[in-house]
Symmetry: C2
Subunit: 477 residues, 2 copies
């Protein structure tokens, strides 16, 4: 448990090892004894709770209500929507015994809940007066993945899944885009992460959806991370599950459905967008500890008292603050410790500064240090935290913008993707060409569509047919 | 969906049917297509969220931190603590296939997580400096029950489970009692439910615990409902899972463990303690709608404007308020509707009262109506809601107190339990006698211990051996 103050692998030496080091040493998670599953430890889980708070508020503004549906789906029900089952069946965990007896209808641990929501809506909806339905669920889902990485890909992860039902196609399409915007705002306002966002190609869309939209973050190693999706499910599930309603004109109609979700993958995005060689760097709004106060020469008169005074003042402001007065550790050790944990702001309180009526303020993201008057701490800190948020967003946005290039042939695409970042290129839009590009670029995939049109007369660099779209390509997690 | 305004079964006609009617017609839940599982609908789930908010705050005050552990337990791990596995194995749901392949080590869907917490603590704890650990988890658990009832007994339910680890037995015992007190406070302060509380007998304690304490609520039909438990797990799990730590004197020691939990059963308690023949009666602090405003003759000038004014005012006060201005429904229909949904306070706004500058305020719990000046609504409502909470608590407490009797023989015990409520009786404390009493009284069980001593010289009415304790007996859910 006391390993965390050792240095971690540098990002440029081994990014994957750096990532694992940060996850473990910042105590975000622990590997569980259940193969492929992780324990979400308090420091990691608290970040997720802040994301939940933000999204719950935003969802509510959009008229969403929280519900909870069963964690298992009977096989007989699971098989009703053909495309969907083909997409998910290979990675399911299946329960076959209950109460010591073999189950007649095996139960699939939910990998996602379109099926259960559709089945419920069939019971709850019979008239246009029952619409729209905008339900959301916070839960965990299980996908039997072969290779797993903390927060990025795991046998079980935490997420929210919104499932809505509307009278008209227009309302559904609006909802899909509204929720994508909520996720984009969550990045900008809460996580200090800029996204590239747009529609997925046919090949990359969700199993059973009419259209999928996603937000994609760019990690420090130049790889993209799909960070949230919003699906227009059309009428496919509704038809498969027999959902219908009496419309305004008394005719029986089929509703339009959407689903949208983000998961604990966002923790992975936070780590890999903001982290540095000293460890985690947390956006202030989700940091479990926003400010750490570290006394210098704490045995000297007045030091601890001053620390406690600042702590009380900040707590009254609603700031999450920790005073580390453990005298068995040196201030230097503590500096590294809270840098590893990504605490956005450190306040150093020592006898010399106190004489001047001031403290030292150190920003985690830039390493910048400045002094501030003690009596102004209360008024300074909230705006300083906002400033740190802005610093972090700007840094991430600059990185993103400097890693987008426009290319028009496979050679340049390959070079750009090898270098890291997004390459925008026009192509025909077919799944075949997409798969060939993946092979040629050694793993480059379409992340989302930049433009649903292409320069006139331009042809696909793979098949030579007319281009139909310009797409963000990248290597991705 | 429009059945909810029909009358429900009266409590005294068929209490079980009344309960089911309320669950369905107040739209707290729906029966899912997955046998034994329910859908928690927005109105029911929102009550659970208020309980979560209250408890999260109280847990945090006690130093608890939230975590999330895997939803499955490998069989090999599950079998390590003998008593525990014997208690839970018969009601487990077991996954045997993952990703299309048979699993070597089948996975048990968690019925409770003592095992996973113990296994994690073994990794996280090595020194007294790592203690105490006070982790809590909000999740769902699965128990393969044969007969299920909404919120009371189901294949899957939502709960929180706290799992703590301490250096000393004293700290563990204190934690067990502290958390029981938090649950008791939750009843008194949030749910307006008084509990009987105390230690369980050996026979009724948790599988694998040294001692179990519980809070027991009394339902309107005279049956008890175990509503929360707090367990002193001693060192049993720690020894079975090899958890040890270097103590202050450098010797290797074994820690002391506790666990404690409440579940969505509390929703069942709310329904059956407070509900009446008109439906649900919700304690104001957990009510998703605390105040409903119903316009009378809403087409007349000024009525809807006044309603909206009151709504805005109350919302600014942080009160959860709904204005129902659907003009396709009569006020009378709406009165029944929100009575069924248990909304604590109704405000009627009609042209006649408006002329007098007043509105009508109707309390759900007592049916009492009074008028209030419009300009005083803002200042009146918060205290009126508190008054309603107090009314509800007092009513439930009076019911509880009038349903506790003291008996000293089996005949009187049987009579008391047939009548409903608790009977306090001294007995020897053995599991054998407890089982015989259950048979004789047609289902009476020990709920918790009232006194860990008995009148001198008194003997057990079953076996004739000396009494050791006075116990609350009741028929229970």
């Amino acid at each position: 448990m006391n390993m965390k103050n050792e240095a971690i692998t540098a990002r440029d030496v081994d990014f994957a090892q750096w990532y694992t080091d940060v996850c473990k040493k910042a105590e975000l998670m622990d590997y569980s004894s259940v193969k492929g599953f992780i324990d979400y430890l308090p420091y990691g889980y608290a970040i997720w709770e802040e994301i939940q708070n933000y999204l719950n508020k935003r969802f509510k503004e959009k008229g969403s209500e929280n519900v909870y549906l069963p964690m298992v789906i009977p096989s007989s029900l699971f098989n009703k929507e053909k495309e969907h089952v083909e997409g998910f069946a290979p990675e399911t965990l299946v329960a076959t015994y209950g109460g010591g007896k073999k189950l007649d209808d095996p139960l699939i641990i939910r990998p996602t809940s379109e099926i259960l929501f559709s089945d419920m809506y069939k019971r709850l909806v019979s008239s246009y007066r029952d619409l729209p339905k905008r339900y959301n669920q916070w839960c965990s889902v299980v996908r039997w993945e072969k290779t797993t990485r903390p927060f990025l890909r795991g046998a079980e992860f935490l997420w929210q899944e919104g499932h809505c039902l509307f009278e008209t196609e227009e309302e559904a399409e609006k909802n899909v885009k509204d929720m994508l915007q909520v996720y984009d705002d969550c990045g900008k306002d809460l996580l200090a992460i800029p996204f590239v966002k747009g529609k997925k190609t046919e090949h990359e869309k969700f199993a059973g959806a009419l259209a999928t939209y996603s937000i994609e973050a760019l990690m420090h190693d130049g790889k993209a991370l799909q960070s949230g999706t919003s699906h227009n499910l059309g009428q496919g599930f509704a038809k498969a599950f027999g959902i219908s309603f009496q419309g305004r004109n008394n005719a029986l109609e089929v509703p339009w459905q959407t689903s949208w979700g983000v998961s604990t993958r966002l923790l992975g995005a936070i780590i890999m967008v903001h982290g540095d060689d000293n460890g985690l760097v947390l956006p202030p709004l989700v940091a479990p500890i926003q400010v750490v106060i570290i006394p210098i020469r704490q045995q000297e008169e007045g030091v601890l008292e001053a620390c406690k005074g600042i702590k009380d003042t900040l707590e009254k402001e609603g700031i999450r603050v920790k005073l580390d007065d453990d005298n068995s550790k040196t201030p230097g050790w503590k500096f590294s410790e809270y840098e590893m944990k990504g605490v956005p702001l450190r306040i150093e309180v020592g006898p010399r500064d106190l004489k001047e009526g001031q403290v030292v303020l150190a920003k985690r993201v830039t390493g910048e240090k400045k002094t501030g008057k003690i009596e102004e701490v209360e008024s300074m800190i909230p705006s300083l935290l906002q400033e740190i948020h802005n610093d972090m967003y700007k840094k991430a946005l600059d990185f993103l913008n400097s890693h987008i290039s426009d290319v028009d042939n496979l050679d340049d695409l390959k070079k750009a993707l090898d270098k890291g970042g997004y390459a925008r290129m026009a192509f025909c839009g077919s799944a075949e060409c997409e798969l060939k590009i993946k092979e040629i670029t050694n793993g480059g995939t379409t992340r989302c569509i930049y433009k649903e049109s292409a320069p006139e007369g331009s042809v696909c660099p793979v098949c030579g047919k007319p281009n139909t779209m310009v797409v963000y390509f990248a290597k991705a997690y």
